[in-house]
Homo-oligomer: 350 residues x 2
Amino acid sequence: MIENSYYSQDQHGPYELYDIGNLELEEGGTIRACKLAYATFGRLNEAKDNAILIPTWYSGTNKIIEQVYIGKGRALDPDKYFILIVNQLGGGLSSSPHNTPPPAGMRNFPHVRISDDVRAQHQLVTKKFGLESLALVAGGSMGAQQTYEWAVRYPDMVKRAAPIAGTAKNTVHDFLFTETLVEAIISDPGFNNGFYSSSTEVREGLLRHAKMWAVMGWSTEFFQRERHKTLGFSSLDDFIINFMYAYFSVMDPNNLLCQAWKWQRGDVSRQAGGDLRTALRRIKAKTFVIPMSSDMFFPPGDCQHEWRLIPNAEFRPIQTIDGHLALFGADPDALQQLDKHLGELLAVEI
Amino acid sequence: MIENSYYSQDQHGPYELYDIGNLELEEGGTIRACKLAYATFGRLNEAKDNAILIPTWYSGTNKIIEQVYIGKGRALDPDKYFILIVNQLGGGLSSSPHNTPPPAGMRNFPHVRISDDVRAQHQLVTKKFGLESLALVAGGSMGAQQTYEWAVRYPDMVKRAAPIAGTAKNTVHDFLFTETLVEAIISDPGFNNGFYSSSTEVREGLLRHAKMWAVMGWSTEFFQRERHKTLGFSSLDDFIINFMYAYFSVMDPNNLLCQAWKWQRGDVSRQAGGDLRTALRRIKAKTFVIPMSSDMFFPPGDCQHEWRLIPNAEFRPIQTIDGHLALFGADPDALQQLDKHLGELLAVEI
């Protein structure tokens, strides 16, 4: 285990922990006394039909979802809905490499798949909260991967689905991009095969990782129009160090690698013997497929390809130059478009 | 100096060497007894008005230009034109870090700018060949940077210009991408601050560099449509190792870094006190701006932005899913489009 004050109630609270016992993983490992960290907003109604589930993305926690997406008068309105945000395994608040006792932690933490997260969340949702349906599952990036997994795995339970800036089956190109993120970290001699004694020993690897996120996470136009300056940074270097690196440098490298491995292999077709068409046909949820127009690694084209295979789906791209990281919410116009789409999706009678 | 059989007549010949003497560089250094490696095709006519100059791109030499772009019946027809391909400084055949004797070689090789290449080429073109005009300057990527530099610096001499998949002023995003390429190499402990004794000691850095080229060089759709398989590779790994890495692994790391530094800082506005509009207005050449539609780091939008500032220019994007590396010529349809554009440009009466 590694002390890391970033993964704390101070930084991301309030959140609760739910012990789901031993989670047997699809790849063969087991997370013992597996904990899911979650936060809730609003109240469950008597009919128990107003629950919204939101899984988290790579490096994200419940906190950014709360701050950027939830609010009175917004689509995700806690006055109307019971909103449950569940932190993904490996994300640092739920069971993760850095908070698992030896010998199972750090680089020995087992490989986790999107499906493992979704099965664990299903246990939380049904056993802890007694839910039999979800009015909406929505998530961005790896949250979209989990949203698709939910909709395919539990089609009768998910009434509406909003996969945002993510795919049901990860693409070869996206796999390769993520591989370069992984290698940026593990190539740092300070990484020491995953048994560093502090994240600061992996400083150079985390800086390279942050720069590669800057290349692929935003868009060419984002920099051309100097959005990084309007966000309050005086130069590219200032933006890289004080935004991108500041964001990632406090995180645990093994946690990031756990998430990256999972991200690379997100694929609902595994539920149908590798047949994506068959898997996506199982979806009963009213689905809005919501890519970001300038996304460089979950591009609209890849999302549109999957949208065509989903029975009751609409393609609702968001126009933005903030690329994939429009998810961060720095483009208010993109947020407004998203709210509109989510509002319309929630208004659909099921 | 480092023995490297890749940079040889065997691999890239026949080419000639021209000694332009000491080249004083814009950044303050000097390349002593500076050599330009060039290859020619066709014959100069009596009027000396049928010369075409083609500078090279990052990692490229005269050979790929010859093989992919020049041919009887093609736009660049040696039966009609005198075609001169000049290898850029740092590219491995002209004066470069690996072939410069100590103490000035390897990591001590001075910083070279696009403008240094173009001034050196001007000397070759005027003194060696006695040319007073160029019917066309055309080049891809860093070759486009040199093409723009030529058209702005020697406006009366360049009659037609075809910058392909490149910009006149490098963008912040492109600078950042190139920085990640640089760091992939220099972060390898085997790089040893540039004083390795063989490229193989920088094996891991060159492999990371190759993977990042694979992420940004092609396009998401290229992999989605399995173009890497139709090119003869059985899997992503096979493609990465036996195409991307095979290509870069034989090159000299310091040579690549010399070119990368130059690429990052390509900027014709330096000729006009930083005013891009003023610089581009100097162009007298009939100019076709030719981006690749799916290029991830010299995207059509960035090229279009510059096209608007050039007096007598047409915007002629090439439709392809091969991204920036459509330059390699693996998409015959892209080549056909390019030939059409170059043919039409050469047919314009000046």
